[in-house]
Amino acid sequence: MGLGLVESGKMPKSLIKLLNISRSYSLWVYQWGLACCAIEMGAAFGAPRYDVMRLGVIPLPASPRQADLVVISGTVTDKMAPVIRRLWEQMPDPKYVISMGSCANCGGPYWDSYSVTKGVDQIIPVDIYVPGCPPRPEALLEGIVILQDRIKNEDPAKRWVGEPIVVQ
């Protein structure tokens, strides 16, 4: 999209709006399923009842290098953490992260375990936290809708260079 134009921040407003709308409805989401939440994520993304594709989300990219959004669903352990960091580094900017479930948010029921990372936000910046243990598929879809709203209103110039949004 207009090499350098977006980063320069000199794009016309209407174009930015168009760009944002098209981005928000063509999210390629990489499923990083780790634990129980992975099944609920599978239900949200793969099951006929929830059908995520109606939101303009495509859940089957071939690799993280082709993904816009990653859903970290489940318990992040200290052994897994470096792998997640590497996955995130491979994704092209602009990239978004949804942290699904209590474990990924803060450690959840394993808050005192010796082997669990207390929250994936210690390793990568997170855009949306979906609470629950595990969250229902509807909750994940709600998180995706909120993320799409946020994408529609964001300034792509900042996002393009990879600055993480601070979650309010």
Partner: protein
Amino acid sequence: MTNDASVTEAAPAEEVATDETREARLATISESLGEMLVDSHIATGRDIWVRVSTDAWGAVADVVRNRLGLRYFGFLSVIDWMPSPYGRSMDSEVDIVLADAAPSDEATSSDEASDTGFNRGVTGGETRFQAFARVSHVGDPGDFWGLTIKADIPDETLAIDTWTNVYAGADWHEREAWEMFGIQFTGHPGLRNIYLPTDFEGNPMRKDFPLLARMVKPWPGIVDVEPLPTISDGAEEGDQ
């Protein structure tokens, strides 16, 4: 009256019968194990435990599998009998209140404690660590039974024989026990980490391994605990 009498007669008769099967089994077991057997325990109608001497641990596997026909390998693990030096470091104030309020029957645990001040389960023992394993006889419908085998692990060496040459499945279980408790299994083909990253320090399942998160902050559940109404009056606790 007569009905009642027959019922009361029948009930103990049944109990005795179950005991007898287990007694008979234990007799066969102790005959096969011979001098290797140190102690045994039967929980009526439930289960059998035996404790064998440390040196015989490897040989026992062979006997129970090949002579007693307990060919199914359930699990193998280690237990650390030392009481945790951190107390129950879980504890927020609510839990401590609960512990005090609950009817105290500590007598059972402290009475059986041996000279070192802690107790070692149903079959006794001398050392801090004990290995225990469970094997079963499966495959014959109607004749299913299991056996829990224990052995002391010497405090000086922290090593015991491997079971991998009898039960191949013991491989992963021993690796887990090595990682979690720091016990050496002599003769194991390759003791290396199974769960934890290779640079992990310490043996997390030992009682003196602290859960640091708990040390740093108390149990967060404290904020949502409702006050329990019957802690003080204790009326409902007695009638069980």
